[in-house]
Amino acid sequence: MTISRKCVPFTPFERELAKSTIAIVTAGGVHLKDQEPFNIADELGDLSYREIAPDVDSANLMVTHHHYDHADADQDINVVFPIDVLRDLQSEGFIGSLASQHIGYMGYTQQLKAMYEGTAREIANDIDKASRADAVILTGG
């Protein structure tokens, strides 16, 4: 892998954090326990993603990902998917609100082109249209 020569997709942020809606997008393989787990049997990786509501009980979230040690996330999902942290920051007035949709996907793939041109765009569209987020926090494992 070499340094990306693509233009850095920098979008200016021109709002106040205290009035902003924030979404989380994680590559850490996070999903609801009653959602279909990511397919770790596929050696090429799973290109799908899961939508997570802002009022989710963090105890109902889990990780399916076999390319990092998620024992700590199994104890406290906030170490990779900081949904309770975001709620605390909302209570403190540091941010305005939680976006109406957050995303979990499995950040391992051998299908880079399909991830970059397919999944990543679908997630960005979801965030833009369904989530109504002013900004996004991205986390890996």
Binding site: M1, T2, I3, S4, K6, V8, P9, F10, T11, P12, F13, L17, I22, V25, G28, Y68, D69, H70, A71, D72, A73, Q75, D76, N78, V79, V80, P82, D84, V85, L86, D88, L89, F94, I95, A124, N125, I127, D128, A133, D134, A135, V136, I137, L138, T139, G140, G141
Partner: protein, 85 residues
Amino acid sequence: MKGVPTVLITVSPEVSGQMRPPRALYPKGFKIGNSLGRPGMRDLQKKVMRDALSLLTQNTRPGDYITIEYPEYGEQYEPPRVKKL
């Protein structure tokens, strides 16, 4: 699409830096799987999150990452390196 501002919290700065993220925070020495800190360390998790979100309003250099130390994290880990071909 108008574009959405993003901030990446990365524990593999050299690896993710290759993709030149628009804004990124590296909490120094955090291990993979601990992007926000350790389980139950809510105050630390909040601090990391506040620092990451604050990058939205700061003059950062697109494609670069900011390193911040959090001594309360405890034992530190070496981040993965990019293999030279």
